[in-house]
Subunit: 350 residues, 2 copies
DNA sequence: CCGGAACGTGAGAGCGCTCTCACGAGTGGC
DNA sequence: GCCACTCGTGAGAGCGCTCTCACGTTCCGG
C-alpha cells in the first residue's frame, strides 16, 4: 500500500515536455538548446521561458547516443605513489586541466589505475570510445597505451616529451632550459665548482635537466667535471646518498644543482650535518618550486614550471586533435622560471 | 572522390552485430553481457566467442539512456588553492576513492569549480542527474549544495563532519581523538607547559583537535592555561605568528601541539630562531603526517589520518546510499595514529 | 504578377541498449 | 496422457535526443 521502494530520483523534464509547453516541435527546442541561428526571436524566447519553467536540462546520455560524442575526456594518471604524494604537482596540473575543460563544457573523467587489472580496465574503457579524448600524465617508456589509442583513432595528449620516437601530441616544460637557468644562476653568483644531482638517467626530464647543466657550464667556459655529477632518482633518499658521495669525492664543491626539490632538501640536510654553511660555503638550487622549498632554512632557490598552464595547453591541444582527428602531431614546450631564494644568495655579489 | 574527412573513430561493434554473428537475438546477448543466469551454457559460450571476435564493448550512453543510471559518480573539490596545493591530502584521498570506484566499475567525474560561474555549472550538472552520486570534499559551512542534492534525491557523502546540523552521510577522521593522542604523547614525555596552535575556530577539524587537547590535559590533571592556546589557520604564516605570540606570552612553555604540519614547521623555525632547542627544550607535534614532516630537522612527530581509507569509506557509504536512496544518514569516523619522531623525543623518558 | 530563393518549422527515423511479455519446448505429478 | 510449470529464447517497444528532409511562408527580382 504505502510507497516503500526508494522514491525515484531525477524528476527532470524532457525535450518533448518543453516542446509541448512551448507549443513547438521537439526539433525547434533542440535548435534553441543547441544555439542554432535558424530560430526566430520570439519562438526562441517562448522556448527559453518553457525551459526555465520546467528546469529542463538535456539528457547527456541521449545526446551522446546520437552524436557519438561523450563530451568528456579522460585524464589517466599512472604514477607511482611516491611521486604522486610528495608534491602538489598533480593537484595543480589537474586544476589547470579542469579549468580549461570547464570552459569548453567538457567533463573530466579521472582514471588512476593501481594495478594490472585496473590498467586493463582502463585500456578497455578508453578504447571503447567512452571518451572523446585522453590526457596521459606520466607515461612510462614502454606504455602500449598511446599506440592502442592511435590505432583506435582516439585523440590523445601526453605530458612530457615521450622517450622513444613516439609520434604524439605532447606538452612539456623546457627542462633543458630550466637546468641551464639554474646552473647559470650559480655561475653568476660566483660559483665555479658546481655539482649536480641528476634525476634517473632513463627519464627524459632528468636527462634534459642534466643537459641544461652542461649547457650552462659550456656557456661559462667552465669544463665539466664528471666527478661533480651524481645520479639521483628525484627522491629524498636518493638525494641524500648522492650528496654524501659528492661531498666525499669533491670536498671543494661550492654549489649543487639538484634536479628536484626533494633531493635539494636532502642535500641541504647532508651539507648542514657536515658543517657546511649554506649558502656561504655551498649554494643549493632545487627544481619544481614545490611548497617545501619555503619550509627549509635557508629557503630554497628553485626552478618553477608553469604547471597549471601545462594543463591548460594539454586541453587546447586535445581539443584541436578532436576537431581534426589524424592531423600531424604538435608539441608545446613551455618556459620555466628561476625563483631565487636564500639558499643560493651570493657570496660574491656583483 | 578520395576520403578526405578525418576517418571515423570508434569502430566498435553493436549488440545487434554480436547477435547476428552468434545467431541469437539481441536480448540474449544482452543477458550474457549482463550476467543473467537465464542463459544456457552453450548459447552463452557461443555469444562470448562472438563478443571476443568482434571486440564488442557495450555503449555506455545507450545503456545509460534506458537504465537511467550513469555508472559514474562525481567528486567535487571546492578547496582554496592554498590547502589543495600544500599537501598531498587530495591526491591520496582521490586515489582511495578511485580505487574503490574501480572495483565497482564506476567512473569518477572530477569537478573542481574555480569561480562563481563554475560553481553554478557544477550545481546544474549534478542536479541534472548526470551522475548516480556525489562525493563532496571540503564543504563550506554555508554551501547550499547538500540541500540542493537532497531535494533532487541525489545521494551524497561529504568528507568531514559538517558544521551545522546538516543531515547527511559523512566520513571523518577522529580529530578530537587525534588531538588527544598528540597531547597525551607530550604529557607522557614529561611535558607540563604544553601550548597549542589551533586551526581556524570556524572549522570543525580545528575545533575538534583543540577539544582533544583539552581532553588530554584534563585526563592528566593539568589545568588548561588559555595563554597557551593560540589560534592559527593551518598555514605556515599563521603558525609563525601564533608561535611568536606564544613565545612572547609564555616563555616557559616546553611543548607545542600544532593542528597542522605546516604550522608545526613554522613553529619549529620560530623556536630555533629564538634559540630554543627542539626537542630538548621544547617538543613539537604536528598534524597530518604530510611529507614535510620528514624533511625538517628534527623530523616531526605527527598525527596520521587514514586518508586513503577515508576515500574508500566514502565510496562504500555512497554505494549504500545509491542502492537504498533516502535511508537514514550514516556517519563513519576513523581512528588516527600518532607517528612519533625526533621532534618530541623525551627529555624525561620513563 | 509570378517563379524561386531564403528562411523558419515540423515530422519522423534512428542512435544502441534494456526489459517486459509472449511463446515453445521440455519436465513432472496425478 | 493431460495439465501446470519451469526454463530458455525472441519480438518489440521505447529511453531522450539529433538531424535530415520536406513543407509552408515571406520576400524579392524580373
Amino acid at each position: 500500500m504505502a510507497q516503500l521502494e526508494p522514491s525515484p530520483a531525477k524528476p527532470v523534464a524532457t525535450l518533448d515536455e518543453v516542446a509541448r509547453v512551448a507549443g513547438v516541435s521537439r526539433a525547434t527546442v533542440s535548435r534553441v538548446v543547441n544555439g542554432s541561428t535558424k530560430v526566430s526571436a520570439d519562438v526562441r524566447r517562448t522556448v527559453e521561458k518553457a525551459i526555465d519553467r520546467l528546469g529542463y536540462v538535456p539528457n547527456r546520455a541521449a545526446r551522446s547516443l546520437v552524436t557519438r560524442k561523450s563530451d568528456s575526456i579522460a585524464v589517466v594518471i599512472t604514477e607511482p605513489a611516491s611521486r604522486l604524494f610528495n608534491d602538489p604537482f598533480f593537484p595543480r596540473l589537474v586544476r589547470g586541466i579542469s579549468a580549461a575543460l570547464s570552459v569548453r563544457d567538457l567533463q573530466l573523467v579521472l582514471l588512476m589505475p593501481n594495478d594490472e587489472v585496473d590498467e586493463q580496465r582502463t585500456v578497455r574503457y578508453l578504447t571503447a570510445g567512452h571518451v572523446d579524448g585522453v590526457i596521459l600524465v606520466s607515461l612510462h617508456g614502454n606504455d602500449p597505451l598511446p599506440d592502442q589509442l592511435a590505432k583506435r583513432r582516439i585523440p590523445a595528449v601526453v605530458l612530457g616529451r615521450p622517450p622513444r620516437g613516439v609520434d604524439i601530441d605532447y606538452v612539456d616544460a623546457d627542462n633543458r632550459d630550466g637546468g641551464r637557468r639554474a646552473t647559470a644562476h650559480l655561475v653568476e653568483r660566483g660559483r665555479r665548482r658546481i655539482a649536480t644531482i641528476t634525476g634517473p638517467r632513463d627519464m627524459v626530464a632528468g636527462v634534459d635537466r642534466l643537459a641544461g647543466y652542461r649547457d650552462a657550464l659550456a656557456d661559462a667556459g667552465i669544463p665539466v667535471d664528471d666527478g661533480l655529477i651524481a645520479t639521483g632518482d628525484f627522491t629524498q633518499a636518493g638525494g641524500e646518498a648522492a650528496m654524501e658521495r659528492l661531498l666525499a669525492d669533491c670536498p671543494d664543491l661550492d654549489a649543487v644543482f639538484c634536479a628536484s626539490d626533494l633531493m635539494a632538501v636532502a642535500a641541504l640536510g647532508v651539507l648542514q650535518a657536515a658543517g657546511r654553511r649554506v649558502p656561504d660555503e655551498v649554494a643549493v638550487v632545487g627544481y619544481d618550486d614545490s611548497p617545501i622549498a619555503t619550509t627549509t632554512r635557508p629557503e630554497l632557490t628553485s626552478v618553477r614550471q608553469p604547471i597549471e598552464e601545462m594543463g591548460r595547453e594539454m586541453v587546447h591541444l586535445l581539443a584541436g586533435g578532436i576537431e581534426q582527428n589524424g592531423r600531424v602531431p604538435r608539441h608545446i614546450v613551455l618556459a620555466t622560471e628561476l625563483i631565487a631564494r636564500a639558499s643560493s644568495a651570493g657570496r660574491a655579489m656583483p
